[in-house]
Structure formats: C-alpha cells, structure tokens
C-alpha cells in the first residue's frame, strides 16, 4: 500500500461555463503523489491551481480523465459516498479559515467528527487532542471572533487533522496572514509532514514553496514540473 501513490491523476480535463464563454481551467493534468509527500502547487493567477485542488478534494467534478484516491476511482462515487470519502480520507484547509462563527474552537474542530459514528465524548477528546497539537488547548472555548488570524488558521488545521485523513489539501493557507504568522503556520505544516502526513498546498509565495519537498508548477491548466 505504501508503494502505490495516494493520489493519481490521469489526463484530467475541466472546463467551466457553456459553449460560448467556456473556460478551459484544466487541460490534461496528470499527477501522482506518494504517501507522505509534501507537494507545493504554484503558478500564476488563473492558471487552475484552485480548480485542481478542488478536484483533488472531491469538492468538484471533472469532465474527463481519471482520479484515483488511495487506488480507488472517484468518478463512480455517489454524492453520499463522496461526502463520506471527504470525511474519512481528506482534510481541507482554506485561505479564509471558514470556521463557523457561532461555534467554539473545540466545536469547530469536532465538526467533521459529527459526521462519523463516534460518540460525543470521543469526539471532544480527539478534538481537544488536536487543539493541543496546534497549541491552542487553552483557547478551546473561545469563538473565532476572539482569536487572531493565525490562531484561527491553526484551529482550521486542527479541524482538517481531526479525522486522521490520508491527505491534507490547503489552498493558500497563508494567503491571509502576515509573514510572521505565515511562518508559524508553515512550521506547523512541516511538523505534520515530518510525522508522515501527505500534504498538497497551493501557494503563491516561493519562500513558502521552497520548504516543501516537491514543487508542481501549473500553467494554463497544465502541469509542468
């Protein structure tokens, strides 16, 4: 199992819009990512990075090609199965954190677990564990509005990790943070990587990308490594 790639894309095409104003966002992307890899995706604005990441995260579909996640094709999944796969295999970190403002940090972290069969106690225990891992166990009962941007992103990372996913996707996770805070977040990702996590991160900053193991360049919907 460790030998086969965790992610395998073969000739993925994706267009947006109808016949007249159609945008070819992805133009035959093939990519393989091994378990435990830390991949940075770079490229100019509008090149299709987010589109690629959304497809990887099964948040979006594609027109043609094949996507194997942990050796299983994603194409045939029903919506319900796709949701379950997102829940079990994937952790997502967004640029704008996307924490629910009316939930505490702990509740936000535990949110993905509410869609599993775990009981409330086990969920809180795991969520607390994850908060401790990102260094925010003392802020467990604070709401997002009471936390700084960097702290919010750490809560979001804890949320992405709490289901013990096979791979973590991050779309410009440092895009909304100042450089100092960005460093903190990057250090956190590197620590995760050292512990064996598979990470795919979209970023604009080359200094951020340099700390990754491998850089994938996307240009006009194509991959050129």
């Amino acid at each position: 199992m460790t030998d086969s790639p965790i992610i395998e894309l073969r000739d993925i095409h994706k267009t947006y819009g109808g016949a007249e104003n159609c945008v070819r966002a992805l133009n035959g992307v093939s990519l393989a990512i091994e378990p435990g890899e830390f991949v940075a995706i770079m490229g100019p604005s509008g090149s299709g990075k987010s589109t690629l990441l959304n497809i990887l995260g099964i948040l979006d579909g594609f027109d043609s090609g094949e996507y194997l996640l942990a050796s299983t094709s994603v194409s045939g999944l029903s919506e319900e199965e796709a949701a379950a796969t997102r829940n079990r295999f994937i952790g997502f970190v967004f640029q704008s954190f996307n924490l629910l403002p009316f939930l505490t940090a702990l509740e936000n972290v535990a949110l993905p677990l509410t869609y599993t069969s775990l009981g409330p106690k086990e969920r809180d225990f795991r969520a607390m564990d994850m908060l401790a891992y990102v260094g925010l166990d003392t802020r467990a009962h604070h709401r997002p509005s009471q936390l700084s941007g960097g702290q919010c992103q750490r809560v979001a990372i804890a949320r992405a990790l709490v289901t013990r996913p096979r791979v973590i996707f991050a779309d410009e996770p440092t895009g909304a943070l100042d450089s100092g805070t960005s460093d903190e977040i990057m250090t956190l990702f590197l620590r995760l990587h050292e512990r064996g996590a598979s990470i795919v991160m979209v970023t604009h900053a080359s200094d951020v990308a340099c700390r990754a193991q491998r850089i994938v360049l996307v240009r006009d919907g194509r991959v050129c490594e």
Binding site: D60, R86, R159
Partner: protein, 409 residues
C-alpha cells in the same frame, strides 16, 4: 451524530435566528389559531340558530288562512278564507301521519283580562291540546288543556308564566283561581313556561271549543297547525294541503294568497344546508390561512438556507452528506411548524372555551366548540404541511455547492 445532538443543533440554529424563527412561527400559529377560532365560532352560530328553532316542534306545519287573489268558479278576488273544525278532519285524512292537529284561533285584539288581584291586556288563543306539544310549552304549575276540556267545553284557562305573574303575583297562586274575560269566568288550571320569549309568555290559552262557545261563536279559525313525519316531501305536502283546502273552500289551488303554508322542517333543513355552506367556507378560509402560514415557513426557510450557505457549504466540505443537510433543514421547519401550530391549536381552543364558559350568548350564538377530530386533523395537517414546507428549501440546501459557498467574497 446522535438523535439528541441533532435536535440540539436544530434548536440552537433556530435560537440563533430568533427573529426569523419567531416570524415563521407566528405565521403558522396564526393560521391554526384562526382555523380553530373560525370552526368554533361557526359551531356556535349553528347551535344558536338551531336553538332558535327548538322553541317549536321541528316537524310542525303551519297553515294560515288568507285572502284569495285569483278569481275562481265565479268567485271574485279578495274573499277571506277561514278554517272550520271540518278542515281538521280533512287534513287528518289527507296527510298520512299527521298528529297533534290543532286549530289556533286568536281572539281579535288583546283582551282585557282581570283577576281578583290584577288586570291587563293579553292575547287570548283557542287551541287543542296538541298545540302545547307544537309550541313546546313546559308546564310549571297545574296541567295543560286536555281532550276532556275540549269535549266538555270547560271554562278553564292555561296561562303563560308572565301573564300569571301580572294577574296573580306569584304564578303558583294562580292555580284554581279565576280570570274574567268579557264577563265570563275561566278557572286557571295551569301555568307554563316557554323559550319563545316575553310575547309567548303573556298568552292565555283556552280550549278551542270553550272559546267558540263563549267569546266567538263562529267556530272559525285562521291557523291550523300539525306535526308531520319528517319523511314527507315538503313540496308534496304543501301541494296536497292546497288541493284539499281548495276543494273545501272553493279557491284556485294555485292561489298562493288563499292559504300560506310554513313547513318548519323545510326551513330547518334550509338553515342546516346554509350552515353546511358556512362551515365549508370557514374551513376553506381557515385552511387557506394555514396554507399561507406554511408557505411563509417555506419562504423563510429558503432565506435561511441562503443566509446559511457558508455554514452548509462548510458542513458539506467536511463530510456532511446531502441527505443529512436536507434532513437538518426539514427538521427545523417541522420543529417550528409543530411547536407553533400546537400553540395555535391550544390558544385557539382556550379562546373558544373561554367564550363558551363566559356564557356569551345571543339569540343566534351559543356553546361554541371545536370538534376534537377537526382539531386533530389540523394538527396532523401542520405536521405534514411543516415537513412539506421544509422540503423545497431543504432540497436547495442539500444541493449547495461547497466551492461556491466558501468562495471568499
């Protein structure tokens, strides 16, 4: 997620958007409340009008002698028709199942009546015993006029409660006393009560034969009343009466002015039919209000889903299935509809009950009540309607595209 957690989450969400929840709830509350109120008041009106009819036997037929308006067999227009005791026998023969047949002869103008203790003007009527049945008089002292009184032309009288009070002070003291009418003494043998109101309680009844013997020797009368079987078709009955009386009194059977026929049963049925119509109308209006309430639930849930787009998108991104999102929204709609609908039902019932207990009663309104079955049906309608109201917004929510919902703008 456990069952309790799910409902906790829904309650929290409803509470987070209190204003919206309250507005939604009010729509349903008002719908059910109005439905219950309308049904209750409709019932009260129906009962009130029914009780107006209770004063007289429901199956009574009142035949009144009039004046001819059509020339017939050489007779001119404007001839007065009057009934005689032979007509009673003729009606008895012609109408199967006719009972309590009685003449009612009203002595023209109120008569000066005096007793040892009082004096006054009262309407005096000559009748057969059956008339008490038809008027639904209730004897409170003594007895009614009976067949022997008729046969022996006894000089006795039965007084309405009010006339007894006016003549003797205490109605109980009237029995055995005498009243004097046009110089003739009649012994009081009974005092009755009646729901017909003051004017009926002022009446003085005499045996028809005694009246004919003493005050009005013509032995004629203007009103013939009897009770008939409910099964007789009203049109046929009237036709038959006209035919029989037309032959006996030589008038054109199509002359509607010669005799007039009032069939209480027919009127009663007409009123009943009217209330069937009113109840139908009330139900339609009430259900319409309820429906509007449910539509407002649907609308507001729709807005709610739009406002919560980010939340729903995120839930989907972290693994919520479309089904779980759909159920979440539907359960919220159901919760709001059920609680507010139930409240509307309870408050509506309470208001109706308060009206009933307060004894608010008019001639045409009494004892409002809501049919338990109708109330239950309303409750089921809310639960069903609430779920349905949530369905469209729930579908919408389930279809939320997480990428679109989470786009930072």
């Amino acid at each position: 997620m456990t069952f309790i957690e799910q409902w906790r989450q829904i309650l929290l969400s409803a509470f987070r958007h209190r204003t919206r929840t309250l507005l939604t709830a009010f729509g349903v509350f008002w719908g059910i409340f109005m439905l219950v109120l309308l049904l209750g008041i409709g019932k009260g009106l129906e009962r009130g009008v029914q009780s107006m009819f209770k004063d007289e036997a429901v199956n009574s037929v009142w035949v009144r002698a009039g004046t001819t308006s059509l020339a017939y067999q050489g007779y001119t227009i404007g001839r007065a028709v009057t009934f005689s005791t032979e007509d009673i026998a003729a009606v008895q023969q012609a109408i199967p199942g006719a009972t309590s047949i009685t003449p009612r002869h009203t002595v023209p103008l109120s008569r000066a009546v005096s007793s040892t203790t009082g004096y006054g003007f009262f309407p005096v009527l000559g009748i057969y015993p059956g008339y008490h049945t038809i008027e639904r008089n209730r004897i409170i002292h003594g007895r009614f006029i009976n067949a022997l009184d008729i046969d022996h032309r006894r000089l006795i009288a039965v007084l309405g409660r009010r006339s007894a009070e006016l003549l003797f002070g205490n109605p109980a003291h009237a029995i055995g006393e005498f009243i004097i009418l046009d110089g003739i003494s009649f012994q009081v043998v009974g005092v009755f009560d009646d729901d017909g109101g003051e004017s009926e309680l002022r009446r003085i009844y005499l045996p028809f034969t005694s009246l004919a013997r003493s005050l009005d020797p013509s032995r004629e009368f203007g009103l013939l009343v009897f009770v008939t079987s409910e099964k007789l078709e009203p049109q046929w009955l009237e036709q038959r009466l006209r035919e029989v009386l037309a032959v006996r009194h030589q008038f054109d059977p199509t002359d509607l002015a010669a005799v007039s026929v009032f069939n209480a049963n027919e009127q009663f049925k007409k009123i009943e039919a009217m209330f069937t119509g009113i109840n139908f109308f009330i139900t339609v209006v009430g259900l319409g209000t309820l429906f509007a309430g449910l539509v407002s639930v649907s609308n507001i849930m729709m807005i709610s889903v739009k406002e919560r787009k980010r939340e729903i998108g995120l839930r989907k991104a972290v693994g919520a299935t479309p089904r779980s999102i759909q159920l979440l929204v539907m359960k919220e709609a159901l919760l709001i509809a059920t609680i507010s609908g139930y409240l509307g039902l309870v408050v509506g019932l309470a208001v109706i009950e308060t009206i009933r207990l307060s004894g608010l009663e008019a001639e045409f309104f009494r004892d409002p009540e809501v049919n338990l079955l109708a109330a239950l049906a309303a409750l089921i309608a809310i639960i069903f309607g609430g779920t349905l109201a949530g369905l469209i917004p729930a579908r919408q929510a389930a279809k939320t595209n997480p990428i679109e919902a989470l786009r930072h703008d």
